[in-house]
Symmetry: C2
Subunit: 335 residues, 2 copies
DNA sequence: TTGTAAGCGTTATCAA
DNA sequence: TTGATAACGCTTACAA
């Protein structure tokens, strides 16, 4: 089974070209005799034929494959991104290769290099840090499009969300309702996404006359559940009370924070007003008032794909695209 | 940039073989002169060298790539599976190609075929139905390992969870506490996973003397959020009351059911006792008593990978592996 | 309408 | 120690 064109040609006493033309649907165009066509299709019916995409790629120097490098699939934002990207690529006849870095720059470099070795036609990357981003640009010869995080590296084509505006909008909406200072739990502040969200928050706080105040922000080094736990525990230790109004810089931070509340108090106090980035259906499991910013993943993916298409067809320009996020309110409780 | 072995050989006045041996780390073995080695590494330092994996694959007839075909990445169970599988494959030097079928058997066939065309070394499939599974076995020539769903197709190597036992355990644990009949919301009952969970539930109910009773089960055709919504709406319409104790056959069904409750009542009544399959951290966002069955994804992945490894190295045997699930209780309320 | 030959970049084999 | 050459299966260009 799994015959090659040559085998078919030999078995049928035809030439490789004839078989190939028929197999590639060019029979009419080259007016291959109907008899020959039938012979070939009968043979294929019997034994099957599978294109050898590897050989094709080698000859044509393209694999019809894109790479997607993300931190992790278990983060629902990234899995949504990956899913949409996979759909978009397939629509255009591309396969997508998804790889995870788990936040390790070493891994990221290895993966991006390995994708280039596999001769993918282009690589989408959610980079871990500025240095890695710069490294890829310098050492890779494949079209690169960076997603979600813009470290301001020169020559990087980025497609991101306006996290600054996003943070401002979220904070303003909450302030509008609660009329009190809001605490901000900051995961990895080194990430441009998080830093921007924070700056938007600060702007909104100062706009309504609330001093930017270190009492209103907690910091952690990373962006994981355990960092959220840590910050919530520190807050409670310091204030002898849980925060009445707070924003988490990302979903993992929120998860961590809430799990501490649940352990401490047996439940999540319903009067807490919660703001968060990265929307998720299960947020509605909470009984609290929830404000969340949903990123426009569809637009991000579409724009990144367009940018990539342009790069694949030879465009050199560095381009950036900034998408808007959308505020989702789940309000049930009066304040 | 991105020189080929031949170019390096020409530029340096060496033969292809010499360059290749050095590049592949066989310099010592073939006792290539140090001077030659240095020349080559200096050159590579300067210009870089990227293996052409495509050419290598063509020659060796293996791609060091596995395919993983799943319904969708946005289902957290599958994204967890995909993530673990990606890690496991990478450990062993394989790349993983993840593709989603969105539950469409046509898509599934196309994808599996396309993976074979790309000459992956083996394919993991979470199949949509028995027919597709049988089709792959008949028409594909690559090692196949089926995950999560065992349709009982002859010749299928499957790695699954014991959903029957899982359903029994979950139901028993809940019954033990609530001492009342429990309602079961069944998503796509045609899936072996769901059918098994249901049969475990029925066994547990009858064991303690509760008649199997159609009043205690709701059915839908699919396994999506909207099916959960539908069933919950029908329940409420029929009973003029929400279910006090219920089990959802999967996470999407649970999400749908709860969203209806939230809309109807403004919140999710905390006294409802909830059982569900497919564990998720955000379940602890709920204020309710929650019983959930966590599948042992790690073991599933490990066993599937081992099975695949054996197949890749020529073993023909059809093997099955059944993993145990683990009960997770989140109890806060007395009953 | 069909056939032939070169080449994609690697690896394997045999020779020197 | 190094070099030459034939594959792998496909596409392209040109010839018949």
């Amino acid at each position: 089974m799994a015959k090659t064109i040559e085998q078919i040609a030999n078995d049928l006493g035809l030439s490789i070209t004839t078989v190939r033309l028929v197999l590639n649907g060019k029979a009419e165009q080259y007016r291959i005799s109907v008899k020959t066509q039938e012979k070939i299709s009968a043979y294929v019916e019997e034994y099957g034929y599978i294109v050898n995409h590897t050989a094709r790629s080698l000859k044509l120097n393209k694999t019809e494959t894109f790479g997607l490098v993300i931190p992790r699939l278990s983060n629902p934002f990234f899995s949504a991104l990956a899913e949409l990207m996979e759909i978009r690529c397939r629509e255009a006849g591309y396969q997508l290769m998804i790889c995870c870095t788990y936040g390790d720059p070493k891994y990221e470099n290895k993966l991006v290099k390995s994708l280039e070795e596999r001769n993918v036609d282009g690589i989408f990357v959610v980079s871990v840090d500025a240095k890695s981003q710069a490294h890829h640009i310098k050492h890779r010869n494949k079209p690169l499009v960076f997603l979600d995080r813009d470290f301001g590296v020169k020559g990087a084509s980025c497609v991101i969300t306006d996290n600054c505006e996003s943070g401002y909008q979220l904070t303003s909406a909450m302030l509008n309702k609660v009329q009190q200072p809001i605490h901000f739990f900051v995961g990895d502040g080194g990430l441009p996404t998080i830093a921007d969200r924070l700056s938007g928050y600060v702007r909104a706080m100062t706009t309504i006359g609330l001093q930017e105040d270190s009492a209103h922000t907690s910091y952690a080094d990373h962006n994981r559940t355990q960092d959220g736990e840590l910050m919530m525990e520190r807050f409670i230790a310091q204030h002898q009370q849980y925060p009445l109004n707070f924003i988490a810089s990302s979903l993992p931070i929120l998860e961590g924070g809430l799990s501490v509340l649940r352990e401490r108090y047996g439940h999540i106090p319903a009067q807490i007003n919660i703001g968060t980035f990265d929307e998720h259906v299960m947020l509605s499991f909470l009984g609290n008032n929830i404000w969340s910013m949903r990123q426009d993943e569809k637009t991000l993916v579409e724009q990144a794909f367009l940018l990539m298409s342009r790069k694949v067809t030879g465009h050199k320009a560095t381009e950036r695209f900034v998408a808007k996020a959308e505020l989702i309110c789940r309000l049930g409780f009066d304040i």
